[in-house]
């Protein structure tokens, strides 16, 4: 049985990784038509350096992802403090209202945003994308920080207050440090959600302002070129680094919570 299981797992891993490895390998192949035999070259990475549109859209993606992480983390942390720690009417409904951003197909929320923002004069471009990305990231932040809050005991904060600490000081001196790993993980999650987001960005992009995934999609639809492989390979490497950081942080969170 174990042999069968191992062989099957190997098959699954092959299925998951083979296309990605082939794609990365082709980024290093000199032929513009992906022709064989393989001839090592970094010319496609060099070509990226001169592609102003790609560089611009990469910068846009990063700026939006950082801002999304900051805004969504602040808003989501505040909301999860209220949802976890306070008792009030309508809490269950408020929790359900967090679902639509992640439970409705993106093409629906994306086209709805395009239509509404255009109609009301909010328009498209940077600020519209930021509004959309933050809304998508908030539910994840509430979830991650909420899980973290369950492990931070309320009575610690209360103890600090009974010892004369002001509530504000008690929150910043006791709860916030204990919650920090969860908040950092949530921020990274929000960053990743934004960086990865394509559908909503696609509908809110303008000819002058778009993000990297939108540019990649446009390029793929024009035709396959090794330049797309090169930028994809770079993005892949970046995602791997991000997940490594995430794993390290959540490990740190685990040890902190156990302490």
């Amino acid at each position: 049985m174990t042999h069968v299981a191992r062989a099957f797992l190997l098959g699954v891993l092959l299925f998951l990784y083979a296309p990605i490895i082939v794609m990365v390998a082709m980024a290093f192949n000199a032929s513009p038509l992906y022709a064989m035999p393989f001839e090592f070259s970094t010319r496609w990475f060099g070509a990226l350096a001169g592609d102003a549109v790609l560089i611009d859209s990469t910068r846009n993606s990063l700026v939006i992802a950082v801002l999304t992480a900051v805004i969504a983390t602040i808003l989501g942390t505040a909301a999860s403090l209220a949802l976890e720690r306070k008792r009030f009417m309508g809490r269950a409904i408020l929790r359900i209202l967090l679902l639509p951003p992640i439970a409705i197909p993106w093409i629906i929320s994306g086209t709805a945003m395009l239509l509404f923002f255009f109609w009301t004069g909010i328009g498209r471009g940077f600020h519209a994308m930021l509004i959309g990305h933050v809304a998508l990231a908030i539910p994840y932040v509430v979830l991650v920080v909420g899980t973290g809050l369950k492990n931070v005991r309320v009575d610690l904060e209360e103890a600090a207050q009974s010892l004369g600490s002001t509530p504000l000081h008690a929150f910043f001196a006791v709860t916030l440090p204990l919650l920090a790993p969860s908040i950092a993980a949530a921020a990274l999650f929000a960053f990743a959600v934004s960086l990865d987001q394509f559908v909503i960005s696609y509908f809110l992009a303008t000819p002058g302002y778009s993000t990297l995934p939108v540019q990649i999609y446009t390029a793929i639809r024009k035709g396959f070129t090794p330049e797309i492989n090169a930028i994809s390979a770079l993005l892949l490497g970046f995602s791997m680094l991000a997940i490594l950081a995430f794993v390290c942080l959540s490990k740190a969170g685990g040890t902190l919570e156990r302490r």
Binding site: T2, A5, F8, L9, V12, L16, P19, I20, V22, M23, M26, Y34, L75, G76, A78, A79, L81, A82, R85, K86, F88, L97, P100, P101, I104, P105, W106, I107, I108, T111, A112, L114, L115, W119, T120, A135, I138, E158, Q161, T166, P167, L168, A170, F171, A192, L195, F198, F203, P213, I216, Y217, I220, I228, N229, S232, L235, S239, M240, A242, I243
Partner: protein, 308 residues
């Protein structure tokens, strides 16, 4: 905002000091919640409402246009029967992808539990989850490298059989399904594996010592206990796949006409936004109908999760 937050904490602490700076608890709670829900209202709820309004208009109310109320946008499904076919393609892609992911995902999760333990299992698990952290667009693009004429599959076949005809799978429905399964399988393995981890191995040993065969153990123990994971995985797969448009465009070419691509066309090239809005809402309705059809299973999964 932090001030109000402190006000709420003050009340909770019920210390004598709270009387001095008494502030109704709800003010603090409201201040914590308001920014998030205002943001969601602006970004999600109002746009959906706006789209609902649009879907009943004859034309977009921009400029000097004088739109009138109509059901025509929804009646398009009756008047242009090919749209029913398109909707069926979307539904079929979503059902087949979800089904394949469920079978492969559960099998992979069971294999993972069986084949390795401790550190090796953690590493294997991370390896499986890792691809889903990379951009979906890139993973779909990767498949064009494998499936296209003269691509990786053709190369491998020709290595064994020189001059073999091309498989030429790219621009076909199987290509779209392969890409979609690749995209969502890690989710399914993740949710199934988490469910399986909660199963006590003693339960399986006990059943086996009482003479239960493998398929009985699978049907009576593993499947019911893995159901919550299977169901959350299925929802996580079904919802995005039914709305997919990037995958059919890239891997399906001209074959890949789905509700997603039709909606994309209405908004980006045909500029018939009321029509696009009606299609979007029809898709939302389709999602809700499918959820309703499977509601008894969904609820079972929910109950099992609460018990666990």
């Amino acid at each position: 905002m932090q001030g109000e937050l402190a006000g709420g904490g003050l009340r909770q602490a019920r210390s004598g000091r709270s009387l001095k700076r008494a502030m109704p608890v709800w003010v603090g709670t409201l201040a914590l919640l308001l920014p998030t829900y205002l943001w969601l209202t602006l970004a999600i709820f109002l746009p959906l409402l706006g789209m609902l309004v649009f879907s009943f208009l004859t034309k977009a109310p921009f400029g000097n246009a004088k739109p009138a109320f109509t059901f025509d946008q929804y009646l398009a499904f009756v008047r242009q029967p090919y749209l029913i076919d398109v909707a069926w393609t979307s539904l079929r892609l979503a059902l087949v992808t979800t089904g394949l992911c469920m079978i492969l995902g559960l099998a992979a999760a069971m294999a993972l539990k069986q084949a390795a333990s401790g550190r090796a299992r953690t590493i294997l698990f991370m390896l499986i989850i890792l691809p889903f952290w990379t951009n979906g667009l890139i993973r779909i693009f990767s498949w064009t490298m494998v499936l296209r004429e003269g691509g990786f599959i053709d190369m491998v076949i020709r290595a064994f059989w020189p001059g073999a005809p091309s498989i030429g799978l790219l621009y076909s429905e199987p290509a779209i399904i392969i890409g979609l399964v690749h995209g969502y399988l890690p989710y399914m393995i993740l949710t199934c594996f988490i469910s399986l981890l909660a199963i006590d191995d003693d339960l399986i040993d006990a059943a086996r010592s009482l003479g239960a065969r493998n398929y009985v153990i699978f049907g009576k123990i593993i499947l019911p206990l893995a159901l919550p994971g299977l169901i959350s995985g299925a929802v996580l797969t079904f919802v995005p796949v039914i709305g997919c448009f990037m995958e059919p465009r890239i891997l399906g070419g001209r074959v890949g006409v789905t509700m997603g691509t039709v909606i994309e066309d209405q908004f980006t090239s045909a500029f018939n936004w009321p029509r696009g809005a009606a299609f979007s809402f029809s898709m939302l309705a389709l999602v809700l109908v499918v959820f309703a059809l499977f509601s008894s299973v969904l609820r079972q999964g929910g109950i099992a999760r609460e018990d666990g």
